[in-house]
Amino acid sequence: MNLFVEGLRQMLGAEPRRPAKEDYTEEAKKLHAFKKTPEQRERRRRMIEEELAHKKESFAWRKWRWPTIIVINLLFVISYHFDVQLVEGALTASRVLGFHFADLNSALQVTLAFKEVLINLLIGVTTVAILWWLVGGRSFCAWTCPYHLVSEWVEILHLKLVERGWAMDIPLDRRLRSILYVAFAVLTFASGYMVYEWISPTGILSRAIIYGTWISTSFVGVLLLIELFFVRRMWCRYMCPIGLTYSFIGATSPTVVHYDLEKCLHEGECRKVCLVPHVLDVTIKGRATRPHIDIGADCTRCAMCIEACPTGALSFRVKGLDKLL
């Protein structure tokens, strides 16, 4: 089983597969066998007990990530209202210190609707694609998208409501996102209108805070209400085409969350907090085919799993950087 291909399959909505026997490296086999010894089991059992008894929520990364989202979005607002011209425009397209930037998904829609490749967009898209490729692709979601932030806050509330039985958590089929992606692309191409953009919560929120177009946020409100009471993180998990666009970029990105089988207790705290838990299926006991694995394309690099992991089995890694230094 090729882990890269498996990551792409999962990104498009396939359920994670169990690896076959021949997929495991010798080292991984040894580690799994070692973890099965009674002493090791007992040791892990004690450690998990200890961990759960002293559970404390960590904000080690969120204390950086949340301000990053806020600062990036505020930069647009400040640039416009105080005329400092750092970042002019909105998240869909902008000039950053005079250089064209274009959101990949918005540019794709314009190209499909307008049926012409625009030079400025090409420049903007290339710049943005390289930047997000460097830092992880879907890191756009977790580190820039304003909807992601409000959705995260609603999720905290949602989990509390579910605990008390006041809200449901209905899972949807993850293939939905891929189908919507194609459907929006076809509709945009056929109609010549940007069918998705007018309901895009990312664009809506970005323009609302910059230009005051607040009526649009009523749609965002409806989405958040559904997420609060019925489907946890519905938009980001099952619908958003922007997320899928950026996960294509993230598939080969050097910035990844790295998994260390040896340190893992397999208690599953990381999968509980993850927006896209299928990418963390390798952390299930016996699933990792290698002792060290980089997490798949769909990962938003939000670092919630890193915060949740008590043993440091999950960490950020920039491929090639260790060789460079």
Binding site: F114, I179, M234
Partner: protein, 279 residues
């Protein structure tokens, strides 16, 4: 069924209440019984189809506004806007044109505009485009060419056409002059008066007029020769005059903003070309 306790005919004396049931967790109705794996998968699939279809269906309703109240002739697009259907396709909804306009004439459409959500337009009566930027800044700012980059002079712009919609209100046609503030002292609109400040637009409310015959639409028009006053009759003593719009009109809406009558006698009709008539 303990749930039906209260419905059961009371035994041994009418006033006796059924004993309170000890709390043993949230009650489950028969419907909420654990579904089998297959049923669960089916339900998940159906709900997903429903959610997806609902979202796609809703997204398509965005067509209604641009076919009705937000259609081409109801939205005055910024200078250089290409044909409406193509404009809606090419505009990336970033608002960079909004940011560069010195008189803040351009505003972004909101949710009720459907597919037009986030696209720029001008409400001429509130704040017209008066070209005080000199070099069509909005066109230069547009990253996609939805505002055509083929335009580099204000004279090349064709946003629409000024039309004397309510001739019966026009002061010049009545032979009347105009004294005072064109739009009252609360009006927030800006205009660059070259004779006042070449570089900075000021409030129309800070610029009173005293005119023998009202020629505001001609006087404040930023395009040379786009509009002129012509005598109404042949009699040289007849003071009455009428504004005549020529093929040089770019449809910026300045005449609509400055017209002192309420509602304005002259308005700009978006997308209308010279020689065409309004329907």
């Amino acid at each position: 069924m303990s749930e039906n306790d209260k419905d059961r005919p009371a035994q041994g004396g009418g006033k006796k209440k059924a004993p309170a049931r000890p709390y043993d967790g949230p009650r489950r109705t028969a419907r909420r019984k654990k579904l089998s794996r297959k049923q669960q998968a089916r339900r998940q699939f159906l709900l997903s189809v429903l959610a997806g279809a609902g979202l796609l269906g809703f997204s398509l309703t965005g067509y209604y506004p641009i076919a009705t109240y937000a259609r081409a002739e109801n939205r005055l697009r910024p200078p250089g806007a290409i044909d409406e259907h193509e404009f809606l396709a090419a505009c990336i909804k970033c608002g960079q044109c909004v940011q560069v306009c010195p008189v803040e004439a351009i505003i972004l459409a909101d949710f009720p505009d459907g597919f037009g959500n986030g696209t720029p337009h001008i409400v001429a009566r509130e704040q017209a485009c008066d070209f005080s930027c000199d070099a069509v800044q909005c066109v230069l700012a547009c990253p996609t060419g939805a505002l055509s980059h083929h335009i580099d002079k204000k004279e090349q712009v064709r946003m629409g056409l000024a039309v004397l919609k309510r001739p019966e209100l026009c002061l010049a046609r009545k032979g009347l002059g105009f004294k005072g503030l064109a739009r009252g002292e609360d009006f927030s609109g800006l205009h660059r008066y070259i004779e006042v400040d070449r570089w900075r637009p000021i409030r129309v409310a800070d610029h009173p007029y005293d005119l023998e015959i009202c020629d505001l639409c001609v006087r404040e028009c930023p395009i040379k020769g786009a509009i002129r006053l012509e005598p109404l009759g042949d009699d040289p003593n007849d003071k009455r005059k009428t504004p005549v719009v020529t093929d040089k009109c770019v449809g910026c809406g300045m005449c609509e903003m400055i017209c002192p009558t309420e509602p304005p006698a002259i308005v700009v009709v978006p997308r209308l070309k010279y020689g065409e008539t309004t329907s």
